[in-house]
Amino acid sequence: MILINKDTKVIVQGATGKMGSAHTKRMIAYGTKVVGGVTPGKGGTKIEGIPVFDTVKEAFQATGATTSVIFVPPFLALDAGSEALDAGAELIVLITEGIPPQDAAKLVAQVKAKGAKLIGPNCPGVITPGECLIGILPGSIFKSGPVGMVSRSGTLTYEIALALTESGLGQSTCVGVGGDPIKGMGYEEALSLFKDDAKTEVIVLIGEIGGTAEEEAAAYIKANVKKPVVAYIAGQTAPPGKRMGHAGAIISGGKGTAQSKIEAFEKAGIKVAKTPSEVAKFVAEASKQVARA
């Protein structure tokens, strides 16, 4: 497993909002150690049985947490992320959708300068099944096992996790890095963690049209990752020039096509599944090979 485990303590920024409180409840129900919430002006109160603080600094000091998950509205997210970083956050999971990309870029610059980790924005979060869930992923469709997953899409991650789980293939950790063009962790950072993780035997990479992150990941895998990788690319039938939901999912100037990504993976010796169920099939085959070796 990577990034989070049963001992990870988490604070929730925006814990008293509609989304924040609903998912604080879900995370606690899953077994995540949610130790505090942060809402300026509501310090001293409680939500879902956990203490609420006015500032991240107080929350970290009082609880010993160094991980924060953020549910604040888009225009407040840069400030919330900066606050967490300056309070010493080592891992920030930024769920909020619709953050202006320039704000994301400013946050990413600070994250790099501090050597911290940022997952998101506009992401479903991260889960180490059976141990810790941070974000909005539906915990019930994941189960513990040897497959590491990294994805740009939220609900498609659920779809493929479901296909894996129903085929008896559990997951070590699943990371949804988010669909925005400017974001913290990308494929490479997640792959670099999975490649050295003892529990992860097979890696699933879920990509989509737009940008060149998949092509860069293919080159990285070829040079650095010995474990088998199975890829899936969404948007194989997307028309060019149209933004397919995600701000980052657009084929522009002939770049960012599914075809180019699939070719890059195949050239790097990575199997590309055509459907979510085929991902499970390829992972099962790869697992058998790992077991034999």
Partner: protein, 375 residues
């Protein structure tokens, strides 16, 4: 959202970036009121690129020539983008053209300058281009650095640096996705001007820039009615040619569902991503938008609830079926609050498909029998 050239230039001017004198017209006869001297340049105002190649820029020798050309230009549609107006400028004598833009680089995760000592070019296919990551916080020396890197010297180095600094500050203060001057010209009188400009504003940032209030409504000229409704409701719709309406939550899942429909021999009629956390009201509007496509024979709903609660979707489905009992629906619904949703839908008699591929196959099959043949 792409702005029209005339809007971009107005914004440039407000931020101290010089532009040629100009006049905007919406009728050919308005050319009579333009006193910029001949020859004139007539430029169609469209939200699409590729204007020059498509013949959207013409020169007029006199009023009569201008009126004839303006009449045709105003009717032009370029890459599906309708002409909103014409921008009239004097035809300038150009000594030199330069390219300059600021945008966000997704691989580096920061803003970048793109510049070239050759302007008026297609930047994607040009080789003589400098790409420079922009440090945050910003300093004025960055503009001079850029000028140096593209080989400028003397007064032009300073003039260009000043414009680059102004363009970046505009980009940052207005939350732009792209600010482009192509070409930036040096006239035979050594004046430096933005001859053409492109600004893309970030839809996600509109809410914090009062200066752009209401602009979304005035930039919908190229959208269909259903696309307009989607935009207003915060839904992501892309119209396609087939007869299977697709409604999912999440961009990746919607794309994957669309790919599966095609793989199983069906034709997607649209891509509609209801986004994360859509409630009953938003989901109902999404269903109505897909339903209103005259080409649509069957609606395929695929929801995997994370931040979206399945019971909210189920409630929308129940309301929709009451309004449109004749509409063929294939629904797959899983995730958070699935049990509550299943109960609600069991009472309504709608069959649910737990497996994605089974649901897609069913929708494809339904799309091949005429509409109105029952659910």
């Amino acid at each position: 959202m792409n702005l029209y050239e005339w809007e971009a230039k107005k914004i440039f001017q407000e931020h101290g970036i010089p532009v040629p004198p100009s006049h905007r017209i919406t009728k050919p006869e308005e050319l009579r009121k333009v006193h910029l001297g001949y020859p004139l340049t007539l430029k169609v105002q469209v939200q699409s690129g590729g204007r020059g190649k498509a013949g959207g820029i013409q020169f007029a020798q006199d009023l009569k020539d201008g009126e004839t050309k303006a009449k045709d230009l105003l009717k032009m549609v370029i890459n599906g983008s309708k002409t909103e107006s014409l921008l009239i400028e004097p035809r300038l004598k150009i000594a030199r053209e330069i390219y300059l833009s600021v945008t966000l680089d997704r691989s580096r995760g920061c803003a970048i300058f793109i510049a070239s000592a050759e302007g008026g070019i297609e930047i994607e296919s040009s080789t003589n281009v400098v790409t420079m990551p922009i440090p945050y916080p910003y300093h004025d020396y960055v503009g001079r650095d850029l000028a140096k890197q593209i080989g400028l010297t003397g007064t032009l180095l300073n003039k260009f640096a000043d414009l680059a600094n102004k363009l970046y500050r505009l980009f940052e203060s207005k939350d732009l996705e792209l600010a482009e001057i192509n070409p930036l010209i040096v006239t035979d009188g050594d004046e430096v001007l933005a001859l053409d400009g492109k600004i893309t504003i970030c839809d996600d940032a509109l809410g914090r820039h009062k200066c752009f209030a209401g602009w979304q409504e005035t930039h919908m000229l190229d959208l269909s009615d259903r696309e307009k409704r989607s935009k207003r409701a915060g839904l992501n719709l892309v119209e396609l040619d087939g007869n299977i309406g697709i409604l999912c939550n999440g961009a990746g899942l919607t794309m994957a569902t669309m790919d599966l429909v095609k793989a199983f021999g069906g034709q997607p009629g649209n891509f509609l991503d209801a986004g994360g956390g859509s409630d009953t009201e938003k989901t109902l509007e999404a269903l109505e938008i897909v339903h209103d496509n005259p080409k649509c024979d069957v609606i395929l709903v695929n929801i995997l609830g994370g931040i979206t609660a399945c019971d909210e979707v189920a409630q929308a489905l129940v309301a929709f079926m009451k309004r449109h009992p004749e509409r063929k629906l294939v629904v797959r619904l899983r995730g958070n609050n699935q049990d509550v949703a299943e109960k609600m839908l069991a009472e309504s008699g709608l069959k649910l498909y737990p497996e994605l591929e089974a649901a897609v196959k069913q929708a494809v099959e339904q799309s091949k029998v005429p509409a109105g043949a029952g659910r």
